[in-house]
């Protein structure tokens, strides 16, 4: 008695598909509902950021970095600004560092809110998504107050910030933080513990630490596998060594360590940790101070190269910049975390059903703007 042989079918998921988080195309080889092979096809959102950066002056590149990871534009700008500042050897005023951390961490909360909400959407829960976006709007209000933009800011400039924060910002930020904790409880109530959600996410797409490290997975997805690597903690940049925060790791509370539920829950916990950091930074924020260090009007870093990495909401964001002494970078390479995170999907998604592949993809939290660049 041989097994019933069924013909395999190639299924094109995307680029127009509601759950591919943009214009990603997944070539699924399916046997019935079971997926035996996943081949991501990327590049539909390619805007040649790296090449473009070679034709722009250093300060002109900043708005384009935000356009790569459009859900975490502050984080991208922060990384780029720090890389160039390191090349120039600029010392930043205290206030700038604190404000940058505040904005980067608020951005992390906003980005994780999207990740958590869309993961719920991927498994069919529509309402938590709306709740998450409601809170995200409050963060965007803060960003709008400071920078004038709601999605793309161009706020963190080389050597400082575009403007100082307006009066009333700190109070509004506190107001948000106070309300936010209860909201997270609400997400836990409606989604995290929900039995259907747990069934859909726990034990699905288990990523062992070995697999995660081999594929270069970083960020919350790596930490969900139990690997304690957070650049804010392991190689503190900016002023992250001054804050007291935990690095949440996946513990397999509902299933195995490194499953989709862990990846989801690590993000939920990270939101609380980020809120903690923002609160500390707001408390320590110098009341007065300049928000722009002395930067030459025409930025010409000395000849040389630099690789600077920072912890973006999606993982390790690296900028490799080569300078030939001119005011235009000779080469800008962006190590985008979501690109490496996506590469693991074939490894952890094989053998699961179509619905699970969507859940796994949702739990990896990719942003196509950053993958294609």
């Amino acid at each position: 008695m041989g097994r019933l042989h069924a013909e395999e079918m190639i299924l094109n998921m995307g680029p127009q598909h509601p759950s591919t988080h943009g214009v990603l195309r997944l070539k699924l080889t399916t046997d019935g509902e079971i997926v035996s092979k996943i081949e991501p096809v990327i590049g539909y959102l390619h805007r040649s950021f790296e090449k473009h950066a070679e034709n722009l002056e250093y300060q002109m590149v900043t708005p384009f970095t935000g356009r790569c990871d459009y859900l975490a534009a502050m984080g991208s700008e922060h990384g780029y600004a720090m890389a160039v500042e390191k090349m120039l050897g600029i010392e930043l005023p205290e206030r700038v560092e604190y404000l940058r951390v505040i904005f980067a961490e608020l951005q992390r909360i906003a980005s994780h809110l999207v990740a958590v909400g869309t993961f719920g959407l991927d498994v069919g829960a529509i309402t938590p998504f709306i709740y998450c976006f409601r809170e995200r709007e409050l963060i965007l209000d803060l960003f709008e107050m400071a920078s004038g933009g709601r999605l793309l800011y161009n706020y963190i400039w080389i050597g400082g910030l575009a403007h100082d924060i307006p009066p009333g910002f700190v109070e509004k930020a506190y107001e948000f933080l106070d309300a936010f904790d209860k909201r997270v409880d609400e997400y836990n109530q409606i989604l995290t513990g929900n039995k259907i959600f747990v069934e859909r996410a726990a034990d699905i797409g288990v990523m062992t630490p070995e697999v995660a490290i081999n594929y270069g997975v970083t960020g919350p997805s790596l930490r969900a596998s139990g690997v304690n690597i957070d650049i804010r903690r392991t190689q503190p940049y900016s002023i992250y060594d001054r804050f007291d925060f935990d690095v949440p790791l996946g513990e397999g509370l509902q299933g195995t360590v490194g499953d989709s539920w862990d990846r989801y829950y690590v993000r939920v916990l990270e939101m609380r940790e980020s809120a903690k950091i923002v609160r500390q930074a707001l408390e320590q924020l110098p009341v007065e101070g300049d928000v722009q260090a002395a930067v030459p009007r025409r930025i010409k870093p000395p000849v040389g190269e630099i690789y600077f990495r920072s912890e973006n909401p999606r993982g390790e964001l690296g900028y490799y910049i080569v300078s030939d002494g001119k005011n235009i970078p000779a080469r800008v390479k962006m190590r985008s975390p979501a690109f490496s995170n996506l590469s693991v999907i074939n490894e952890i998604g094989q053998g699961w059903m179509i619905s699970d592949v969507i859940a796994i993809l949702g739990s990896l939290d990719i942003v196509l703007g950053e993958i294609d660049r």
């Binding site: 509601p18 069919g124 529509i126 929900n194 069934e199 859909r200």
Partner: protein, 415 residues
């Protein structure tokens, strides 16, 4: 109803010249048209209500632009859908693609022929009413498979296959659950089922809370059966958390992916017709149909009921008590949601109290379905099967036996 309509037409002197068979055919046509109009209007109202309910649950407002509070939004949408270009994909099987949506619509509209809206308002009083409703509503799956296959689209095919597996699996527990009720009544006639639920009795026969003699209060088993039936029925009509055939985040739109315009509108129409059907069935089988919950109380019984209701509300729902609202949310919410039903409903009540009560009960059930939909994630295919075969089916079987034992214990039947 058909016969009485025919008699009424013949009672006019001018029309009495028409042959009785012709008049009978005419009244048949009128009744069919009335049912179809009911289904269509019902869908328009329900889409609006669903959008509003989902909006309020999601801290939004929902449609607000067309008409006051957007009440005409779905009318506008329906008109738009009717005007849309009729698109049949080139590679689709044109015949099946065309008749698929109509099959679903016919199946879901035809079931309403047996639904008693009041003691007189009933198209066909069949002695196998319940059986007819279950069997006709199963035809829906045929239409879904037709539509999914004919679309010649892999996503549609997946949706159709899932739908077939799901609906067939859930027929069994749903059928067995209803059989438990039939065992109590001893009849498949829906009117008989409703009439046997008249009067007031104790909760679960012994607990001294005077409640209507509805089957949901008949015994713990039938109480459970009502919920089992709700779950099974939710799966049968493809609503969240069992909406895997059209799960929009996985299969784009499942079997509806390639449909647009009028045909798509037909799917929508039948989806809501099915939801309404299930709601009506629950209210008929478990909630006493068109029987008023208050009609047969004596003064003492009513007082006792109010006291016990308040006590139950206090103990059960006090946690949900919210903000400045000092009333009990469940009652309020059901009433507010059904405002769309209540305003015309009051007029209906004056004309025909039976219709009012059954519509109110059905509306509550529909609200419950909406509440499910806007709260839960979606199950996976195999988990759906697990729930069907390993959870709901055993429970419904135990229910069936339990009901028999209960009836023997309470002395309703003797051996």
């Amino acid at each position: 109803m058909i016969q009485s309509l025919a008699n009424w037409i013949l009672s006019f002197d001018i029309l009495s010249g028409l042959g009785s068979s012709l008049v009978w055919g005419l009244s048949l046509f009128i009744v069919a048209a009335l049912i179809f109009v009911f289904v269509a209007v019902n869908a328009i109202v329900l889409v609006y209500v669903e959008r509003k309910v989902s909006a309020f649950m999601q801290v939004r407002l929902g449609p607000m632009r067309v008409g006051k509070f957007g009440v005409l939004q779905t009318v506008a949408d329906a008109l738009k859908l009717l005007q849309k270009e009729d698109i049949i994909p080139e590679k689709a099987d044109k015949v099946l693609f065309t008749i698929g949506p109509w099959t679903i619509l016919v199946a879901s509209v035809a079931t309403f022929a047996a639904i008693p809206f009041s003691d007189t308002l009933l198209a066909a009083n069949m002695n196998i009413g319940l059986f007819y409703v279950i069997s006709i509503s199963s035809i829906v799956v045929l239409g879904i498979v037709m539509a999914g296959w004919a679309s010649n689209n892999k996503w549609s095919l997946y949706g159709a296959m899932r739908s077939a597996a799901q609906i067939i699996s859930y027929e069994i527990p749903v059928g067995i659950t209803l059989v438990a009720v039939v065992a109590v009544v001893g009849s498949l006639n829906l009117q008989t089922i409703i009439q046997s639920q008249g009067g007031v009795g104790n909760l679960f026969h012994w607990i001294p809370i005077p409640l209507p003699n509805w089957y949901i209060f008949h015994s713990p088993f039938l109480f459970l059966a009502a919920f089992v039936y709700m779950i099974g029925a939710t799966a049968e009509i493809n609503r969240t958390p069992f909406d895997i055939p059209e799960s929009e985040s996985e299969l784009v739109a499942g079997f509806m992916t390639e449909f647009s315009g009028l045909r798509w509108a037909l799917f929508f129409l039948s989806e809501y017709a099915n939801a309404t059907l299930v709601a009506f069935l629950v209210s008929i089988v478990f909630l006493g149909g068109w029987q008023s919950p208050f009609a047969s109380y004596s003064g003492a019984q009513a007082a006792l009921l109010v006291i016990s209701l308040v006590a139950i509300m206090w103990t059960v729902f006090v946690k949900v008590k919210i903000g400045r609202l000092s009333m009990y949310p469940l009652g309020i919410s059901i009433l507010t949601t059904m405002a769309a039903w209540l305003f015309p409903g009051f007029a209906i009540w004056l004309a025909s109290p039976g219709l009012f009560w059954i519509v109110l009960k059905a509306a509550s059930i529909i609200f419950l379905l909406m509440w499910f939909r806007w709260t839960f994630p979606r199950l996976r295919v195999d988990q759906l099967m697990y729930v069907s075969w390993k959870v709901i089916l055993p429970i419904s079987l135990i229910n069936l036996m339990g009901v028999a034992v209960w009836m023997w214990l309470s002395g309703e039947i003797q051996f």
